[in-house]
Symmetry: D2
Subunit: 473 residues, 4 copies
């Protein structure tokens, strides 16, 4: 397993293809460091013996110890541990741990390559296993690029005015394929080693060129990572470890992919299945990370209530209980999704889709509600707190420390730290990104409802009603 | 194990002490039959080999096959099966299966009698085990009487103007105790074999006379069961099996209880623990029954949408998905509660309290919302549907059948049956009872919030926030 | 103006055509009395000088004093008074005052007959005015029959398998028309003098036979009123004035209507306009009656909180404030709808449609929520309260009075009365009818959303956004 | 009336006492310009003859034409126009118009100074009228500084460890008073002419030093404006007029106020009344501005739905209707609040408090919900949209324009402009400030609930319930 340092060294050695603010930048650009800091924690905690049980797994192909973020789930317990690890790490970084994307894509591919081989006589699974071995041995960080830019939402891929609005194979060669298109919302991509591409939706026969899945190094020729990075405001005085994230619009401008890295190419009946499977594993990951973001909000809410001296007030306790209910319903239903997992032919355990989807759905519809509760309990100060420097200016500093005092047990400095954090959590660009990601990441609530309705046995429920009504089928 | 017939025979042999509508009635009074019909199903399904795995358990004390409603949970799997059995049976009867009360009380007593013995040197566990053996061997139906009438809500038991407003020991004799007081909302009691009494709350030293638990046959001298029965309207033409329930205010007017049936008498530190434990087991039962009532509502909603010809309409699918989300979040979190159960000294597995409480809470706050969805999709007809007899009157019958037609694929008779059921589900006294029971049964949402806040580790969440804010403890 | 007695005498003199429970019944059938009691109040209060300002208006056609329920709104103040009168009366009867239907239909017809005359050269307005004069002079009670049974919801009227599934003209004669069909959910019809029929929806040219409006006496030959009556349980001991309602499915089996009572016949472009106008006046009425039903719920909630001794508890006050917010948002927005009314060519003031619809919508989506709050604060007793007779039985009466005691300031009798009322409000068939009527009466929430989207100027809102985005049109 | 230029010139002439980011800055600091731009619009529109009716009023003291933001409401119509003006201007600037604070404080003082004179024999009203004349003649911009920093929330002002945690009179002199303390969340203060101070709460006799109200020029000696400014990101290419806001923590460090500017000094019984009155006028202003912010959100939501090609989708229309309902319930109830206004002894019209509070409450509890809807309809792109400069970089610009295409009717540039605006609306620091201000500005939802419960006649509602229950008082 790599160290955080080795990971960063590798990033520095890559071909520059990250664009940000109109410029081509290095992968260790300061704006990317908050995201890289998060990624580093996935190596740090894996190296810490106290967290070994959670962070380290045994590869089913090599028998080696590997970072759990490279592991294919071999049991219900693996799924439970991934969920638990995700919640734990996200409470440490205050939000999305990001590296789940890669492992979720790998798990989906482990299943689908086997299923395609079984039903269509292809040879993808062995090819994929070779790639997985490389991935595990090098302890890589993978982005999963799924969402196409999609153009006109009322048209299928092959019907678009510009055929590139979904990523597609533009050429098949003896040694590989050439692809063109763009994938949106690629968190982690600017500081990932690998980009793993999967389809975004079901494909019809006419969309065959769009039924494609592959992996490339993130700095491959023809790949452009147009990036937006977000993190809370940089501190000058009240230093804390900075965590953040970055997303790219990932453009594939005639990118060559050798066959050994191609995992689907034209198998249209499996495109939607792969899209759904990745989403399913990823939604199960959300049953770990979303409770963690609620933990952070809940902790901040309880803290500011204490600092304001109103921790025992009934309306405060009522709202904290609301937050607990959201967190634990999502986490609990995620546990059920793992416990009711199904083993596929490849040996991979796949979480129960109904439980995973209702859990992710419940998390998604509550994101803004959670911020609402935090803002309600925090009061107006997060929006109007004077800037950090004013607290250290000789004219105003002392006055500001005088007037920020509340509960006399808590120092002015800690009051300041508490509200500085709240200001970042509620009133920064990063806060908005967390909100939007909280709704749409891994699939918007409406997507989960579609997934639920697609898989739920409504007919058996109608049969219950008919029986009670005395209606014979 | 008994048959439904044996159960009914026993009821008929009991001393009449059920009062209803101003009269002393027999236990097979027609108004009680709908509830007895539900109870009978717990015997019928246990006798059906197809349902043996779910319905039948092995006694840990006798090794005999017993009805799962008499079983002490010996494993996580037992808890999962109880939950699954509960959901299954409740979809068959269209609502509360009722018999869970008894098994939940027995499980709580199995734990608490052992804990008391260990910490206070008492001998309750052996006594309880004797009673349990009798209960299992006779396949009894137990009511659990917990909620005292409580008088002035702002006062503790010993502070009440009338000391009987909480049930208490009025005399200790060599051969047993004499108790006085009343317990409210005792579903099933009018057709139960046994009444198991547990405290309703924490008790202080001054409330020692109120820290009492015991079991008596339901027809014991001095016990009055003042009863209210509810069921959907009786059908004259569109016959279906009638299911319903009955609750009693159970009055103990100087009732003698022999020592071998007394399981707590003055051990105040354990009164609140027992109250909480019964509630916990019972809330875990709700993670089975509430999804079932949602199944019934969901099935009826999907059915009427089909009958109206709007099943594919987006707003219909959206609302069905809402119902699914409620059902499966509650059920999924109930599974988590079982999976994270803790084994106590007695060997009994106790569900995780946070998961059980958030699940019951989520069910409780959604009850009226679910009826809202059903009413929304059903339209106004459930409220204005002419009475059953008008559909069979020579003057109006044909006209009514003509004008109830909707989707031409569905017969007028089935349309009628569907709306007749909806009318009962939405616009009967029984509907109101289901709503109120859905909120308050097993503990109102506010009680679950109190339980959650009492057991959740908020401090660790504040530590998460402090760490992110850079605040040192 | 009539007295309540004269109204009842008239009912007794009518031809029996009310069917209930399989029988032809008299209009003073005991099951109809609770509804008739409500209707009587509209006469009683009009005769009471203390309420004259609210209850009595001056006819714009005769200059005579008339019951406001017969009046065409001549000013904003008339609309405000109608709203206020409606709220007042509904708090007295504990729910729907019912007589608003008639006045709402008359107002809609006053507008539409004039508009048709102006644009199509018809002579309806004079004819209608003649009818109105008769209606006002005889102080009549009118039902408005709008909702057709509608058959297959995915088909228009003329496309139905059975053409009668919407009410239609089957014959035009020299002296009038013959109609066939059925109208559903006709509250008040069994004890109304007149039935006023309006279309239920927009009609296309092919639906010309369905674009029909007229009025007939409720006992006209060929009219069948198949009736369902609801009221809280009849009291034997704790007597209160009984209020309730009844709805009929009103079947028109080849009913002859003379031309002087026909107000639309084939003017398809105006069918939807009339449907919408009646709905609009009726939704404005709901801005009066729905706050009243909230007043009743709020009052009951505050009362039971006092009787339980928890009136000052923060969660109680919080929930009462929620109820107040619902009531006053609906009422306030209803006031705005009146204040922003538009005068039409006939001189009638028509409430603002957006305000009226959002107000009715808000009321509709909160109905079950309000019952939820009441049930939450009332506790489980409304569902399990022993029957009235048991409180007066020599064996159980004293015990029940003993154990119902709470706040010692309140007598057992008053506690009983309070919970008896709550039991009827929450756990009776009548409660379910109130809930369903609260959603669907005057148009379901989805109908108001459709009305809102049909009339709101979304384009101007997009222009606001474009301007801020710097997008030029 | 002043021009925007004159207003700005005045700002430039003021003594610098604005601190921001650790520095003393000029009042035309670039970070303050977006806020000043908003203020300028209040002068621009008043000078525009097309908006004269809305923007210009006639002073009741001088008879001169004045900006409505300086006017004391002399009629219901004045209140209606203020509300309408507020909504109009806020749609132009995309958010809070800010200048309402001053006029709301002046109106409150006009009432309270008269009431104090009448009941306590003081001479405040004449003094206030002199100040008002000066304010109107100079067309001033006033901040209202109400919210004290408040220290320990569980203690009253005089009980605080540091007595300055509420602003107080530290010295009374012959020529005036000296005050010390700090007021928080003072929007507009850094570019206002005047700061008007009012108490934040009820005061007891012991808090007499805190019952103080006065006005000072914003650059008075001893006043420190520690400022935080917010605005959407500055544009480099897609230029739009920049609007924003700034808040200060306003510190009064021994500030002298001459008597002619003191409007309350020790009249404790009126401190709470003044606090409430200002809040009431300000909440009525919110019934204008909050619908405007909903208009902006609604317009943006409809626009992005059109640009994505899904404008007719049922779930889109459903959500737009939700937004309309919020906007028009708040606006409509604000109208009712004006229509039911009460004239006080000073001649000032005061809005109805229950309607104003429920309207502001409804706005406050829906703020995050509205952002949720917008984020839901906008999708993930607002969070991941590449920075503006990348769209104009020669390497990536063309590719980004290619891949942002959706509905082919809309140019890439307009798509970009739309999503750039959405990114600012959802994912900027400004967005967070709008959210927090939307909850807490003018009083948090819990404050409105307290105000509602303080003024609502719950007793009359209990009487309704008692009457229906047959309970005699």
């Amino acid at each position: 397993m790599r160290t955080a340092e080795q990971y960063l060294d590798k990033l520095r050695s890559m071909r520059p293809n990250v664009y940000m603010g109109g410029e081509l930048v290095q992968r260790d650009d300061p704006r990317l460091i908050p995201g890289i800091n998060i990624m580093s924690e996935t190596f740090n905690y894996a190296a810490d013996p106290r967290h070994k049980d959670l962070m380290v797994a045994t590869s089913h192909i090599t028998g080696q110890s590997i970072n759990r973020f490279c592991h294919i789930h071999q049991s219900i317990d693996d799924l439970l541990k991934k969920q638990e690890m995700t919640r734990f790490l996200c409470t440490r970084t205050g939000g999305c741990i990001q590296r789940c994307m890669g492992v979720d894509a790998l798990n989906a591919l482990s299943v689908i390559t086997k299923e395609m081989d079984l039903r269509m006589g292809t040879k993808y699974h062995e090819r994929f296993t070779g790639y997985l071995k490389y991935f595990q041995e090098n302890d890589l960080v993978g982005n999963c690029a799924q969402t196409d830019v999609k153009g006109d939402r009322s048209k299928r891929p092959h019907e678009q005015a510009d055929p590139d609005l979904y990523l597609r194979v533009v050429e098949k060669r003896e040694d590989g394929i050439v692809v063109r298109g763009a994938k949106a919302h690629n968190t982690i991509a600017p500081y990932a080693d690998e980009i793993i591409v999967v389809p975004t939706r079901m494909m019809t026969e006419k969309d065959a060129a769009y039924a494609v899945s592959f992996a490339v190094p993130a700095d491959t020729e023809g790949v452009y990572l147009v990036t937006r990075a977000t993190a809370p405001r940089t501190r000058k005085h009240l230093k804390v470890k900075e965590y953040g994230s970055a997303d790219s619009l990932t453009i594939f401008d005639n990118v060559f992919v050798p066959w050994e890295r191609v995992f689907m190419c034209g198998e249209t009946p499996f495109a939607g299945f792969l899209a759904m499977l990745f989403a399913l594993f990823h939604r199960h990951s959300y049953t770990g990370c979303k409770p963690a973001t609620t933990d952070v909000i809940m902790g901040a809410a309880a803290l500011v209530a204490e600092y304001n001296g109103v921790e025992k007030a009934p309306h405060v306790r009522d709202k904290l209980a609301d937050l607990i209910a959201v967190a634990e319903l999502v986490y609990g239903t995620g546990i059920a999704s793992a416990v009711k997992a199904k083993r596929y032919a490849s040996g991979t355990y796949v979480p129960d889709p109904v439980f995973a989807n209702v859990a992710r759905y419940h998390a998604g519809i509550n994101v803004y509600h959670e911020f609402d509760i935090l803002a309600d309990l925090a009061g107006g100060l997060p929006a109007t707190l004077p800037l950090e420097e004013d607290f250290f200016n000789p004219v105003t500093g002392e006055l500001l420390h005088k007037y920020i005092m509340r509960n006399p047990e808590i120092t002015a400095e800690n009051q300041h730290k508490c509200f500085r954090m709240l200001s970042d959590m509620l009133c920064s660009a990063h806060a908005g990104v967390m909100q939007v990601a909280g709704i749409h990441g891994g699939g918007s609530p409406i997507m989960e409802k579609i997934a639920i309705m697609g898989q739920y046995d409504i007919k058996s429920k109608k049969a219950i009603a008919k029986r009670l009504a005395g209606i014979e089928d």
